[in-house]
């Protein structure tokens, strides 16, 4: 039983619901239970997502899967596209892709992570960080950033656009393309494509470095607040290369505990089900994965940029590696657990992506037409990739007729489910306990969620159009206070 997860006498407590917080391919909500003195007694993040894909992909031919499942998401579709493609590769016996195909997929993925990280930081999270968590709601959005800090907004737009262009040229479209097919890719880059991307690569690297400087400055200027905000300690999980390097496309699974001690390392991800199990809780539609050897109480973990930076031994590009060392040094050599340090790690990864894109663009393999391999057919495949938000598992079985009979997806949000719950409990306990609710205070909870997951914040923050209703009820269930955000993003008490 986790502190503040389940109150002893919930029927005697006031219930505050934030619904929807925003969307994760469905809707999320936060419920708070408070006693008569407004002390926090229970906090839960519910992500009411309907992952129907696992069901309706059944009965479909396997070559459709990478294109179909990417519709899970509009922010990181490439991650689903490639995780599925890696699983499907195994079905067609393509255990090792051609150098051209693998590098093109890596290029696509680097473009994806770069654009997603830029969106996450600049468009969704920077308003909180630049203006303050409880600053004027009318200004706390990307338009406010563009007015107050036009150079920062320009960098964000430029970085995201560049990543989208990388995706377009490798997958055919900026969103929901078709580049990866079973056993490889359906196109290579032309030299004109390469030159087009290369002309912007140095501004992209420069803007990525500037983003790290900005995040570092924000974080350290109010160090005590930022490092303690939503603080909790946990294990971490992610992929690493055989030599321990950060690798977002392929590698073995590595897990470390909260002190940095290795739990398992270089695990073949096709055996993920031996190392990870999922727990079901009565109050959430989303499962709670945990490391099997540690059990559900101690085995929960987090994934994503900070987990990856904590997990890897080094980053294989020089500028990002120097920044990783600086972050690790700030942590005194120990794992860093502060949720807001996710943004710092995220910007380091963005620089890594920019450097990796430069290297790949200078590699002539991406221009060759040796795109497909096949081998002995198999009936089961697992594909794992590091999506922007964390480790993403796709697992499929097919029958002899090439039709999918089973699909299991463990998405990053699910892996971070417990971690996000933990973060908002800490925030509610520290900032909301015993106080009258305001939009600014409630935004503290969303800030903690945004540190992990952009999909949870996109509607309320990027566009400000997601309606939000918060009700404070007394112990008899009577509404005593109500706060409503309308579709224009305006708050009013009704």
């Amino acid at each position: 039983m986790f502190e503040l997860e389940t109150a002893r006498d919930p029927e005697k407590l006031k219930r505050v619901v934030i619904e929807p917080v925003t969307r994760v391919e469905g809707h999320g909500k936060v419920t708070l239970l408070l006693d008569d003195e407004n002390h926090i007694r229970q906090v839960r993040l519910h992500i009411v997502e309907f992952r129907g894909f696992e069901k309706f992909i059944q009965g479909r031919p396997y070559w459709e899967v990478p294109v179909m499942v990417q519709r899970l998401c509009g922010i990181c579709p490439v991650s689903h596209h490639l995780a599925a493609a890696k699983a499907i590769d195994l079905l067609v016996g393509a255990r090792q892709l051609t150098p051209t195909a693998e590098k093109l997929r890596r290029l696509m993925h680097m473009g994806q992570v770069l654009q997603s990280h830029a969106l996450h930081f600049f468009h969704l999270s920077s308003p909180d960080l630049l203006f303050g968590f409880d600053s004027d709601i009318g200004r706390r959005n990307i338009v406010g950033v563009a007015q107050e800090y036009p150079e920062i907004a320009r960098d964000g737009v430029m970085l995201r656009k560049f990543g989208q262009e990388v995706i377009r040229l490798t997958a055919g479209k900026r969103i929901h393309g078709t580049g990866a097919i079973p056993g490889g890719m359906n196109k290579c880059l032309t030299s004109a494509d390469r030159d087009y991307l290369l002309k912007d690569i140095y501004p992209v690297i420069s803007a990525s470095r500037e983003a790290i400087r900005l995040m570092k400055r924000i974080y350290t200027e109010n160090l005590a607040f930022h490092s303690s905000f939503g603080y909790f300690r946990s294990s971490t999980l992610g992929l690493v290369r055989a030599d321990g390097a950060l690798d977002l496309y392929h590698g073995g699974l590595r897990a470390k505990d909260a002190t940095g001690r290795t739990i398992f390392d270089h695990v073949d991800y096709r055996r993920y089900s031996e190392y990870l199990h999922e727990e079901v809780k009565s109050w959430s539609y989303m499962k709670f994965p945990f490391i099997t050897s540690l059990g559900p109480e101690a085995g929960w973990y987090r994934v994503g940029p900070l987990a990856r930076i904590n997990n890897c031994d080094f980053i294989p590009t020089p500028l990002a590696e120097a920044e990783r060392r600086a972050l690790i040094a700030y942590g005194g050599g120990f794992p860093i657990h502060s949720p807001l340090a996710y943004h710092w790690a995220r910007m380091i990864e963005m620089l890594y992506c920019a450097e990796a894109i430069k290297e790949l663009l200078h590699d002539d393999d991406i221009l060759r037409d040796d795109l497909i391999v096949t081998g002995e057919k198999a009936l089961e495949g697992v594909g794992v990739i590091e999506a922007p938000r964390g480790t993403l598992f796709h697992h499929y079985r097919v029958n002899e007729d090439d039709v999918v009979t089973m699909a299991n997806l463990i998405v990053s949000t699910t892996s971070n489910n417990h971690a996000m719950n933990e973060a908002i409990r800490r925030v509610a306990e520290r900032y909301l306990d015993g106080r009258r609710l305001t939009e600014g205070l409630l935004n503290h909870i969303e800030v903690a969620i945004r540190a992990f997951d952009p999909c949870l914040s996109c509607a309320t923050h990027a566009l400000g159009k997601m309606p939000l209703r918060v009700e404070l009820m007394d112990a008899q269930g009577e509404v005593v206070d109500r706060l409503v955000k309308d579709s224009r993003g305006d708050f009013c008490v009704v």
Partner: protein
Amino acid sequence: MSQGHVTIDGEEVSFEPGQTLMEAATAAGIYIPRLCHHPEFVPHGSCKLCTVDVNGRHVAACTTPATDRQRVQNNTPELNDLRRSLIQMLFVEGNHICPACEKSGNCQLQALGYRLTMLSPHYNHLFPRREVDASHPDVLLDRNRCIFCELCVRASRDVDGKHVFGLSGRGIHTQLIVNAASGKLRDTDLAVTDKAVTVCPVGAILKKRQGFAVPIGRRLYDRQPIGMADARSGQKNKERDHG
């Protein structure tokens, strides 16, 4: 030898003896939208996309013989509105999920949706339950996408000589069936090289393991919108005839 002339949208078009309006228009480089028509097969006249106005009457261009001095209206807002409605009805009567369909970019139904500026399905989706038959080693039959044009029926019967496909049932309950006691494609004599496998205008009959091999930008209707090929071949015919 020319038999006479018709006018199509005011343009004078000559025709040969025995030609239909569709054939005369195509030879002249005028595109008339269609789905069930294929120049290699006997006209069917079932999809009604090729409906044109001849001297004030609506007729199917693919089955109507050209006769001298017919005044034909083809590319008019009124007719295209009707055609768009037909396309919309086809979309809602089946399960056409273009974003995940491997025929996307090569599909005549989708291409006509674009040509006729179909912005939404308009009608309520029926979401019929239709069976996918993946039993054949080389051919996938996805009935969700079938539009009952019977091109596969005609191709199998008239070209392949096999009678693999047929339609069963009536009205909204019509379904594409295969000629085997099991009802499965694997128990027919269909071969992947058969004409019936390549003639489907939508994604109902597909060669297996080919999906998405052609990248976006190089698919048939990425290169030229539907109808452009007719215009170009018609232009070539004119150049040949005049010079």
